[in-house]
């Protein structure tokens, strides 16, 4: 077993793309910064934009996690397409449901 392994040290196909710890540290610090930012933003009166800012920051943080911590940036096209189409499908389902609920009372008042 060990003979096999010595020939296979850092085989790209076996172990995937290796992301440098520097990238992980940079993403980690950015995520902490955005956490502070979103907490601070919730104390500022922005009307309907409070929800938009909070969600925009959450989407940014999630995108960073997916791209770097979850290695999607370095993944094969099949994986990228799977993730992209899945999230798109999810957004379609939410948008259709909400457009129904939010418009049910239109014209009834």
């Amino acid at each position: 077993m060990s003979e096999h392994n010595e020939q296979l040290v850092h085989d790209e196909a076996t172990e995937g793309h290796i992301v440098s710890p520097k990238v992980y540290v940079a993403i980690f610090l950015t995520l902490l910064f955005f956490t502070g930012l979103t907490a601070a933003a919730s104390y500022i009166e922005m009307g309907p934009f409070n929800a938009i800012v909070a969600l925009a920051i959450a989407v940014t943080k999630a995108t960073l996690v997916v791209l770097f911590f979850m290695h999607i940036k370095y993944s094969p096209k099949l994986t990228k397409l799977t993730v992209g189409s899945g999230i798109f499908m999810f957004l379609v389902l939410v948008a259709m449901t909400l457009s129904d609920y939010f418009t049910r009372a239109w014209g009834r008042w």
Binding site: F28, Y43, V65, L78, T82, L98, F102
Partner: protein, 245 residues
């Protein structure tokens, strides 16, 4: 050994952890991560249904959601977000350690991730205890006192809450139902994750994952980051609805 036998052996040379129905290790790794992502997509749909329910009720009973949100502790919520993001970072470093075949470092990061997961659950249980003590758990003992008469509740006074009419105050129970549903399902995923981490720590001690076969660590990392992403959305939606009014 004849020439033909040598040829067969050369063609058959592959790591012991490669399954025979895969043509190459690359194919096996791609297929496994594809499968893991399909599982995570079903998880997105699962949490997505609950998020959608949240969005509908928040739109209908916004004042109740604001008052309910004010009952959550900014300190615990923000601290827990940081704890979970840190655990995601240590997990990513664990995957890196496995890829670099550093056994001691892998053990260190797995244990750190495990401890941070336990800290998260500990803080969550402190928050749940507060809710139980104030009768903010939906059910027969639910109390609308903090919302009908905020002057009696120091937390509501600090947030500057105005009294809600009784019918709107009763809808805070919907907010807390969604709060316990969402954070409860998230906590269940954390408990499952921490359990798998404990298993991985024992396996890693025995030398697993640092022999070139990192698939299990890599895919568990995907799960752990996914649970982190769910919290990244729960935090602003539950804690930060409106801290300024």
């Amino acid at each position: 050994m004849s020439d033909s036998q040598t040829l067969v052996q050369a063609e058959h040379a592959h790591p012991p952890y490669q399954r025979h129905h895969f043509g190459s290790m690359e194919q096996q790794v791609d297929a496994t991560s594809f499968a893991m992502w399909l599982f995570l997509l079903t998880e997105i749909m699962f949490f997505g249904g609950m998020f959608t329910a949240y969005l509908i009720y928040r739109n209908w009973y916004y004042p109740a959601f604001v008052a309910g949100s004010h009952q959550l502790s900014m300190l615990w919520g923000t601290l827990n977000t940081s704890v979970l993001i840190t655990s995601s970072f240590t997990m990513a470093m664990g995957v890196w350690s496995a890829q670099m075949r550093k056994k001691r470092l892998l053990l260190f990061f797995l244990v750190l991730t495990f401890v941070l997961g336990i800290i998260f659950l500990g803080i969550k249980s402190i928050e749940y205890t507060e809710k139980i003590e104030k009768h903010h758990v939906p059910g027969f003992h639910y109390s609308v006192q903090s919302f009908v008469n905020p002057a009696t509740d120091p937390v509501a006074v600090a947030a500057g809450d105005k009294p809600l009419p009784l019918d709107m105050a009763r809808h805070t129970e919907i907010y807390f139902s969604l709060y316990f549903l969402l954070t409860g399902m998230h906590a269940l995923h954390m408990i499952i994750g921490v359990s798998i981490l404990a298993f991985m720590i024992f396996r890693a001690k025995a030398g697993a994952y640092t022999n070139g076969h990192v698939t299990f660590v890599e895919n568990f990392g995907l799960y752990w980051h996914f649970v982190d992403i769910i919290w990244i959305f729960l935090y602003p939606l539950l804690y930060l609805i409106s801290r300024h009014q």
